[in-house]
Assembly symmetry: none
Homo-oligomer: 420 residues x 2
């Protein structure tokens, strides 16, 4: 079954709000195996809304329209639907009663303008809202079904979950869509695509898609089948193949963030972590503590931005600071050991480097040393990260968290290199 | 001039991301007086993208397509454009050279798949990217102009601001557009709108728009005139009026982030800062050091997530930890003093609280104490921040940075309160 989401509202076209309704509805439809082939946004204009309805019905089996069901003059989705159906609007006494009852319950008098919400195109059904005052509308035209739901997100979600999605799931028949998201770091999107090129070419169900975000590539595998078990069975071999080709750059097969994966591994190992940060200014600790429950394994972080803070707070030696300097293997190791000692943690993780745009400690922008000091081994890695300050910091965080992830998983630890 | 935004990407139709690109572009087009009548989203399917191009060109003067310009097999916007134009793709040696140079600069080898990015539909122009590797495309068809820009938001914005918007503004007529962005925190968007309601109603040029992001409200004033001087002259009185009404909740009149504003003020005062963080996990330091040159005034931060780290690292007293506890005025003050002493800074800024979802230190989720320890005065503030963990953390950061901003500006310091 093919669906299209038609969002009505000039505020979307002016960029005053993002179309998060379309995103939410798309997610829900994917879950029940309904394909969404188009989103469309149109302003509060009768003819253009009617045209958009016609267009959507010409290319999809189901149209879900959001917005334009309110009580004000610019709420004209129901008028546009009536126009497309070629029928008049009929005022429904039972909706009027429900509206009046709602206003009484809220302790107010209903403005006359709200009566518009009791109008339904002749022959169409309506959906009584649990939240808000806007009834939804359902109409069948030439074998296509149109749902109109409110634009207020909470009202839209209530009506979708209570009425529209169950109705569509029943119409869609027994098909289940199951997705699995693999996340990797330390590898570029184009290299991922290259490694998986022929797998990608050969697959229609399950499908495979890539999404690159800063410092990461996501691979989404999606299978469609009559049952969840059969969808899972389709996914299994593809996931195995992808994992074999990509190897241990994959840090999660369940759409975890790197900080969530690291948290899960620390918790499983019963180990605690402390950080020593410099160029990242505290971001590594901030990311680790963005996960609820992180106080079970995260002890703290010393952000030693100034060189003498590295000495005073973390115990970096005068010899190191005067010799190889603040951006060095020695300094990173002393910082990691210092954080471990200061916060009495099992593992110390340190980053020091030049975020740019200026060189720092005699090192070019993008030069980063990371060090891990565990209870059984120590490891350092040097990176040369090209790009802007925010990119250097982000990739340094990724490399540090990924070093920790590999250490906790017992995977080979990467040596010094250049990353892209 | 009528424009349409065509967003290409199956990830949008699956609801994996919201279409924030369409929102951003819509805002920018509104500012230069270009009407946006439709947004359209289509998946990574050659025929459907081509159909969407044709549809968009049939109803708009200008089409801006985002996404599908990457190096992978599912990036086929350029193929679809060539199909619509009825021309072949031609590989451009100069783009290929630029691509290779970029990969050399980043220290890598260019995967062959990236060569696709050197393909341009015959007769079309291309836009060299400053960020990323995806060139933009520009084609004229039957009096309509099509722009294709990357889907990665930072790359899209760079190309829109550098090339597409100036070109469209010139097409839209001899007008200069000047914007000024005022940013405020510690006040809700609806309160800002209320305070400025009649100013907002009365103004067509300059225009005024609000944008609420987490913990902040931006007010964008935009004037259109024949020259920059005349646009500035139009903006002046409106800006003065807005500033008078909003008072000192405005922390910047030049679109600075709160951390940039604080950095500018610290630099001007010749003072250094150290932080002590708990529930924010390092985010305050991370934000301050996201600004280039912050090593001139930022000394460091102690993220004391565990209670005994607050004692061992920051010198919080046993008496405080056993008495009022880790979420208390006393603890915040001791942490601020500890950070100031530990990092030898002029000002210590501390945050402690319960981020949630669980209570912490006997305090309900959302309870936050912030403290500032300056060389002349100390100040504390208690907040009760409703919402999820990430919201609590964000608002706590905002309140702490804004307290510091007001202190440095010599403005009245806010007392304990509830923020929403």
């Amino acid at each position: 079954m093919r669906a299209e989401i038609l969002s009505v509202g000039t505020e979307l076209l002016l960029g005053q709000i993002a179309n998060t309704n379309a995103q939410w509805i798309s997610q829900r439809l994917a879950e029940i195996g309904v394909d969404v082939l188009h989103h469309e946004v149109v302003g509060d204009n009768l003819d253009r809304i009617a045209d958009s309805f016609r267009l959507a019905m010409s290319r999809s089996d189901v149209v879900i329209a959001t917005g334009g069901l309110g009580p004000t003059q610019d709420d004209i989705t129901r008028d546009a639907l009536a126009k497309v159906l070629g029928v008049p609007l009929v005022r429904h006494a039972e909706i009027e009663e429900q509206l009046r009852a709602k206003f009484v319950a809220y302790g107010g008098r209903m403005p006359d303008s709200n009566l518009r919400q009791a109008d339904v195109p002749e022959g169409a059904r309506y959906i009584v809202p649990d939240r808000g005052t806007a009834p939804g509308l359902v109409a069948d035209i030439a074998g296509k079904r149109v749902f109109c739901v409110p634009g207020v997100p909470a009202e839209m979600r209530e009506m979708m979950e209570g009425t529209v999605l169950p109705e569509l799931a029943a119409l869609a028949g027994p098909a289940v869509l199951v997705s699995r998201i693999l996340r990797c770091t330390g590898i570029g999107e184009s290299r991922v695509a290259e490694l998986l090129a022929d797998v990608f070419e050969g697959t229609e169900n399950p499908t495979m898609a890539f999404l690159a975000t800063s410092g990461e590539t996501k691979i989404r595998l999606t299978a469609k089948a009559a049952t969840r078990d059969r969808a899972e069975a389709l996914l299994g071999p593809l996931e195995t193949e992808v994992l074999e080709r990509l190897g241990d750059v994959v840090f999660s097969t369940r759409d975890e963030s790197l900080e969530e994966a690291v948290g899960r591994l620390l918790r499983a190992a019963g180990k605690t972590l402390a950080c020593a940060e410099s160029l990242t200014g505290g971001n590594v600790g901030a990311r680790i503590t963005s996960v609820a429950g992180s106080s079970d394994y995260f002890r703290g972080s010393a952000v030693a931005y100034a060189a003498d803070a590295k000495r005073d707070v973390l115990g970096a030696s005068e010899e190191t600071l005067r010799g190889p300097g603040v951006v060095s293997r020695e300094c990173a190791l002393e910082m990691a050991a210092g954080a471990r000692r200061l916060f009495r943690a099992d593992i110390g993780l340190a980053l020091t480097g030049a975020a740019g745009p200026e060189p720092h400690g005699g090192s070019a922008p993008g030069t980063v040393w990371i060090a891990l000091d565990g209870d059984d081994r120590r490891h350092t890695r040097k990176l040369s990260i090209p790009g802007e300050r925010d990119r250097v910091r982000r990739w340094a965080e990724q490399a540090a968290l990924d070093l920790l992830r590999r250490y906790l998983e017992g995977k080979p630890l990467p040596e010094s290199d250049r990353i892209i």
